[in-house]
C-alpha cells in the first residue's frame, strides 16, 4: 500500500496500462504538451511519445468520434474530456455510437473505449462548468458509468475500465483530485458493478457515490459521537448498479437516506430510492429520504454555491429526521 492522491492514482494507472498494453493510447485536449488541465497526464507524452499520447484541437465530437473509430479497429483509447460539461458537445458520439455500435453490428464490433471526465461543483466555476451530468450517461444502455470516490478505487476502477471491451465513462470529481488515501501496490482492479460498504453501521444507511461518499463518511463519523451508527454504501458503479448491495444494507438498517451532489429530480438518487422500494420495501421503517443539490443553475458566488449544494449539516438533518420518525433513540 502507498499513500497518494486521487490524482496520482489516476496518473499511475494510466502509465501502468500504457506500459502493459501497446494498444492503449490517450486522446484529449491539452493532455500532452500541457500535461492535462489537472495534470493527470503529467510526463506521459515525454515517456510514450505523440503516437500514444495525442493532443487534439478543441473539438469534442471529433476526437470522441475518432476514439470510437480507433476502438472499433482494435485499439483501446482512453479519452480525457476536460470537464463533463464539455462532454455535451460529444454526446451524440457517446450515446448514439459508442453505446450502440456493438448492438447495431450484432456483436461484430466492440468499442473498448474509456472516457475520463471530471465534474462537480464547489470550485466557483459557475453554472455551465459545475455540473454532475453522470445521470445522463447512466441512463443509456450500452454504457458503463463509474464514479470512484477514493484513490484506491480510482486505480481499481480505471484499470477495470481500460481492460473492459465496452465503452466506459469514468466520472471523476474536481474536489477529489487532491484527496489522499492508501492505494494497493501492483495490479489492482475493482469489478465493475460492485458497490462497497465504505463504513459499516446499524441504524441507518446512507447511499452515496464519488465526492458525496466523503461527505457521508464525515457525517457518519460525527453522528457516531451521538450514538448513531451510520452505514455508508459507496455505489462506485452507477451502471451497472449494485442493487443487491444497496438493498442488503437497507434490509439491515431499515432506514435509508440517499445523498448526491446532483440535482434532485430524475437523478441517481431517484433510481436508488426506487431500487430500495422494489427490493427492500418490507424492511423499510420510514420513507427513503433524498439529499441533493438545489434545483438551480449553480451560482458563481461562493456562499451561494455552497448553499445550493448538499453539505454535512443537510445530510445529518435528514438522517436525524429519519431516525426520529421511527422512534429511534441513541
Amino acid at each position: 500500500m502507498s499513500m497518494m492522491t486521487y490524482r496520482q492514482a489516476l496518473h499511475d494507472t494510466l502509465r501502468a496500462e500504457l506500459l502493459r498494453d501497446e494498444d492503449v493510447l490517450l486522446i484529449g485536449e491539452e493532455i500532452g504538451v500541457f500535461e492535462g488541465s489537472y495534470k493527470i497526464t503529467a510526463g506521459l507524452l515525454a515517456e510514450f511519445g505523440p503516437r500514444r499520447v495525442r493532443d487534439t484541437p478543441i473539438c469534442e465530437e471529433g476526437f470522441v468520434g475518432v476514439a470510437i473509430g480507433a476502438a472499433m479497429l482494435g485499439l483501446r483509447p482512453v479519452v480525457e474530456i476536460m470537464t463533463i460539461n464539455f462532454s455535451l458537445l460529444a454526446i451524440d458520439q457517446i450515446v448514439n455510437n459508442a453505446a450502440k455500435v456493438r448492438s447495431l453490428s450484432n456483436g461484430q464490433l466492440r468499442v473498448p473505449l474509456v472516457i475520463r471526465t471530471p465534474g462537480g461543483g464547489r470550485q466557483q466555476l459557475s453554472a455551465t462548468h459545475s455540473q454532475n451530468l453522470e445521470a445522463w450517461y447512466a441512463h443509456v444502455p450500452g454504457l458503463k458509468v463509474l464514479a470512484p470516490a477514493t484513490p484506491a478505487d480510482a486505480k481499481g476502477l480505471l484499470t477495470a475500465a481500460i481492460r473492459d471491451d465496452d465503452p466506459v465513462v469514468v466520472v471523476e470529481n474536481l474536489g477529489l483530485y487532491n484527496t489522499k488515501g492508501e492505494v494497493p501496490d501492483g495490479e489492482h482492479a475493482v469489478a465493475i458493478g460492485t458497490a462497497a460498504v465504505a463504513r459499516p453501521g446499524a441504524d441507518v444507511t446512507v447511499i452515496a457515490y464519488s465526492r458525496s461518499t466523503l461527505l457521508a463518511l464525515d457525517a457518519a463519523a460525527r453522528l457516531q459521537d451521538e450514538g448513531i451508527s451510520v452505514e455508508v454504501v459507496d455505489l462506485r458503479s452507477l451502471r451497472p448498479l449494485d442493487r443487491e448491495a444497496v438493498c442488503a444494507s437497507v434490509r439491515k438498517t431499515s432506514r435509508a437516506v440517499v445523498l448526491e451532489d446532483d440535482w434532485l429530480s430524475y437523478g441517481i438518487g431517484a433510481e436508488i430510492a426506487a431500487t430500495i422500494q422494489e427490493g427492500a420495501f418490507g424492511h423499510l421503517d420510514a420513507p427513503v429520504r433524498r439529499v441533493a443539490a438545489a434545483e438551480v443553475p449553480l451560482p458563481y458566488a461562493k456562499g451561494l454555491e455552497l448553499a445550493a449544494m448538499p453539505d454535512g449539516a443537510a445530510l445529518a438533518r435528514a438522517i436525524l429526521d429519519t431516525l426520529d420518525a421511527t422512534g429511534f433513540t441513541a
Binding site: 444502455p141 448498479l241 431499515s254 418490507g282 424492511h283 423499510l284 421511527t326
Partner: protein
C-alpha cells in the same frame, strides 16, 4: 396468463399459509387439479385449479403466510412464461452470438405481479417494516398506538407490543422448540406430525394460552331424557337411524344458545362478535388429531335432522371427506366422551368461540329427588368459558337453562 390468488376459505380467514405445493413450476394443470394445500385458521384445505394450462410460476414459498387476494402462482394457457424454468422451447433468438452489452448481470427483476396488498386496516398507517413484523409476531396493528409522524406505526411500536405480550403466546408459525435430544434414541421413536395434528396442537395451544378459561359444572338427571330418546327411537322405522344422547345435547344446546346470544359469541382480537346463526361444532376424534364438523343453524333443525347430519359428518370426518363449509363457521362446540365411560372432564375452547361443552357419560348414580334418595341416570356437563367474552353469572344462567331443557326434554321441541 392467469394469477392464482390466495382464496378466502373461511369467514374469519384473513391470511392463509401455503403449506405444500402439490404442483410445481412447469407442471401441466387441469381444471380441478389440486395445486396446493392451504392452512387456514380452521383447517388444511386443498386449493383446486380453475384454469387449464401450465403452472408457470409459484410466487409463494411453502410455509409462507399471505393475505387473501395475494397472487400465489401464475398459470399460463400454453407453455410456461418466457423466463420460466421449465423445458418448453424458448422462442428462437434472432442470431445472438455474443452476450448483450451489459455483461454484469442486473439483479432479477421483480415478478410481474402486483405486490401483496397490505392487510385491510382502515385508517391505520404503519411502515412496511412494522406491518411485516406485526404479521410475523401475530400483533394486531389495530391495537398498537403509533409513535411515528401522524401516528404511523413503526418498528419500535411493534417491538414494544411484542415485549408486552406474555411469552406463552407463540407466533402462529413459530417453530416448535426442538425436543431435547435425550428423548430420542432407543427409548423413543419420532412419529411424523400430520398436518391435522400440527394444526390441532397449534390451535389448542393458542386457545389454552390466550383464552382465559373458567369452568362451570352441573349434573343432570337424564332419566327423562333417556325415556324421551327411547320414545323417539321407538317411533322411528325399524333398522333406521337412531337418535343418540349427544344429538339431544346438541339440540338442547342450540335451543339454549338461541335464548342466550351472549354465549353464542366469539372473541375477535379486540372485538366481540355476537353471532346471528347458531352453528354447533361436534368434536370428532381422528387417528391423528381432532376435527370439528359443524351443524349449521342447529336451532332451526329437527332432532332427526341433527342426528342424521351428525352421523354423516362424523363418518366423513373419519374418511377425510369434509367440505370447507362443513368445518367452518362454528359458534359453539359440544365434545362428548360419554361413550368412552368418562364421567366428567374439561375441554379446551375451540377458538374463537366463547365456550365449549364437555359431556360425560350418563350412568346410574344416587341422587336426591323431592327429598328422597333415589337412583337415577346422571350426566355431568362442564362448560368451559372464555372469560374475555363471558362472566360466571352469564355462563351459569346459560348452563341452568341447558340443564332445565335436558331434564324436561319436551321443552326442546317448543
Amino acid at each position: 396468463m392467469t394469477d392464482v390468488l390466495m382464496p378466502r376459505l373461511s369467514d374469519t380467514m384473513e391470511e392463509g399459509v401455503l403449506s405444500v405445493w402439490r404442483k410445481h413450476e412447469g407442471d401441466v394443470v387441469h381444471r380441478g387439479d389440486v395445486l396446493a394445500e392451504i392452512d387456514t385458521d380452521k383447517a388444511t384445505m386443498e386449493l383446486e385449479a380453475y384454469d387449464e394450462g401450465v403452472l408457470a410460476r409459484t410466487l409463494i414459498e411453502e410455509g409462507a403466510s399471505v393475505p387473501i387476494g395475494t397472487p400465489i402462482a401464475v398459470i399460463t394457457p400454453g407453455g410456461p412464461v418466457p423466463d420460466g424454468t421449465s423445458e418448453a422451447p424458448a422462442p428462437a433468438p434472432v442470431a445472438a452470438p455474443q452476450p448483450p452489452p451489459e455483461t454484469v448481470p442486473e439483479p432479477p427483476r421483480p415478478a410481474p405481479t402486483r405486490p401483496p396488498a397490505p392487510p385491510p386496516s382502515a385508517g391505520l398507517t404503519a411502515s412496511p417494516l412494522a406491518r411485516r413484523l406485526a404479521r410475523e409476531h401475530g400483533v394486531d396493528l389495530a391495537a398498537v398506538q403509533g409513535s411515528g409522524p401522524g401516528g404511523r406505526i413503526v418498528r419500535a411500536d411493534i417491538d414494544a407490543a411484542v415485549a408486552r405480550t406474555p411469552p406463552s403466546a407463540p407466533p402462529p408459525s413459530a417453530p416448535e422448540p426442538a425436543a431435547p435430544p435425550a428423548a430420542l434414541g432407543a427409548d423413543a421413536e419420532e412419529v411424523p406430525l400430520s398436518r391435522i395434528r400440527r394444526l390441532t396442537a397449534q390451535r389448542l395451544t393458542a386457545s389454552a394460552a390466550q383464552a382465559p378459561h373458567f369452568y362451570l359444572t352441573r349434573t343432570v338427571d337424564v332419566d327423562a331424557l333417556l325415556a324421551f330418546r327411547a320414545q323417539i327411537n321407538n317411533g322411528l322405522a325399524e333398522g333406521g337411524a337412531r337418535v343418540s344422547l349427544n344429538d339431544l345435547v346438541v339440540k338442547a344446546s342450540a335451543h339454549a344458545l338461541a335464548a342466550h346470544p351472549e354465549v353464542n359469541s366469539s372473541w375477535a382480537g379486540t372485538r366481540l362478535l355476537r353471532h346471528r346463526r347458531v352453528n354447533i361444532g361436534v368434536a370428532v376424534a381422528l387417528e391423528d388429531g381432532l376435527i370439528v364438523p359443524v351443524i349449521h343453524d342447529a336451532d332451526r333443525k329437527s332432532i332427526t335432522q341433527i342426528s342424521g347430519e351428525a352421523r354423516d359428518l362424523a363418518h366423513r370426518a373419519r374418511t377425510g371427506r369434509l367440505s370447507l363449509e362443513e368445518i367452518t363457521g362454528g359458534t359453539f362446540t359440544v365434545s362428548n366422551l360419554g361413550m368412552y365411560g368418562i364421567d366428567q372432564f374439561t375441554a379446551v375452547i375451540n377458538p374463537p368461540e366463547a365456550a365449549i361443552l364437555a359431556v360425560g357419560a350418563a350412568a346410574a348414580a344416587p341422587t336426591v329427588r323431592e327429598g328422597q334418595l333415589a337412583v337415577a341416570a346422571i350426566m355431568t356437563l362442564t362448560l368451559a368459558i372464555d372469560h374475555r367474552v363471558l362472566d360466571g353469572a352469564a355462563g351459569a344462567r346459560f348452563l341452568a337453562d341447558l340443564v332445565a331443557l335436558l331434564e324436561h326434554p319436551l321443552r326442546i321441541l317448543l
